[in-house]
Amino acid sequence: MSDNIMIAYTHRQAGHCESGATSNLFNFHGIAMSEPMAFGIGNGIYFSYLPFLKLQFAPMMSFRNLPNTVFHRSMKYLGVDATVIKKFKDPKESMDALDRNLEKGIPTGCQVGVFNLTFFPPEYRMHYNMHNLVVFGKEGNDYWVSDTVMELPQKISYEDLQRVRWAKGAFAPKGKMYWINKVDKELDIKSAVEKGIKKTVYEMIKVPFWLVGVKGIHVLARDIKKWPKKHGNSTASFYLGQILRMAEDFGTGGAGFRYIQGAFLKEAGEKFNNAELLAASDMMGKAANRWRDFSYIGARNCKNRSKPEEDYGTLGDMLHEIADMEKAVYVKLDKIKI
């Protein structure tokens, strides 16, 4: 086995780890695809609020879909020949499979946990197992990886890469890896966009479960108002901080992926000359700006923990308003014919 492999893979920084990896992989195979496009087709946008599960000691909520959804769905809707290996039995075997791929010249995406990721900024080293990066080269014992959250490609040693690929805990990656085999035909982006939007609309307003989608935002808004009475001011501010951390920090592109979704609608609208889509993108952008306002105002409560500056009732009302704004977008999208 040769020691030095370097695939001509272009690293581009992106807002979201997985859609960034997907769009970079597409670009490697000669198809110009922006990050918002990959995100929208693979319907990365989501909302779920699971108060009975705790993540870092606060109720769990998610603004994105489950790991690997973006890659899997965008491949499915575009009809691209791609391979996903969900799990390996043995760490050694998973690293060998990665080496074989690199020798064939295939840049390979991996799901990793961030706690032991050596090049990562220290403030984000929490137990979060849904991160994605693309391995595209090898140099002695080190691998070259493209992590779209970082500005530049990074180096990581064999042992460290194996450790993060076999991180344990909730959503353990178990060495999951994925790659595109080949793209040989003309892609039907129009129908893929249509399918992506249809699925997004289903997930955000039509799922018959009250903690998912727009309904979940309403439940969260109701709960926020109860927090200070139920848990006391400092815990309430920590819980509020959890919403803002999930929405703003760490690879969301801002406002819990709402900006990326808006950019996708905009790009699709311009591509297919559809005024309705452009109008929807404008509404989405405004909803995203409202999320931003929410986090600016909410952060004041996080700063002054024992004495809230803003009333939790106002914050709850604001979330109700945001939920209504988002719902209007999805209802509009539901009726659109591209």
Binding site: Q13, G15, G241, Q242
Partner: protein
């Protein structure tokens, strides 16, 4: 690194790397910018890390007072809860909970201690003591 450091928080360990953000302006355009996190984002992150530090210190005091086993301290230090710890070590949730008691911890065999030590990345000797 010094030139590239975040001008606002130059002396802090946090907030020293640039991320890509999208914004939506009045003109109806989505813009991509590479920049540092704003103060609001940093406040919430700092809040989380303050809480972790608080919990670690609390657990340390508990262990020193003999009310909890050292596992309670190292568990907080590794930012996991009992459920996560049981997933990481492969020891069942109820047993992990019992091992937080000093009495039960003192009876633990080497095999289980080694499992904990591996997760916390320390030796079994270190696991028995809290500084």
């Amino acid at each position: 690194m010094e030139e590239n450091a975040n001008p606002v928080y130059k002396n802090d360990a946090f907030g020293q790397f640039r991320e890509l953000f999208y914004t939506y302006g009045q003109d109806g355009q989505f813009q991509k910018n590479v920049g540092f996190h704003g103060e609001a984002d940093r406040t919430t992150l700092q809040q989380a890390w303050d809480l972790f530090a608080e919990r670690i210190e609390e657990a340390r005091q508990k262990v020193l007072a003999g009310k909890a086993s050292p596992i309670a301290y190292y568990m907080e230090k590794a930012l996991v809860n009992t459920l996560d710890l049981s997933m990481h070590t492969g020891i069942s949730f109820w047993r992990v909970k019992r091992h937080l008691k000093p009495k039960v911890f003192n009876r633990l065999n080497e095999k289980d201690l080694a499992k904990y030590a591996e997760v916390f990345k320390i030796t079994t000797e270190q696991l028995k003591h809290v500084e």
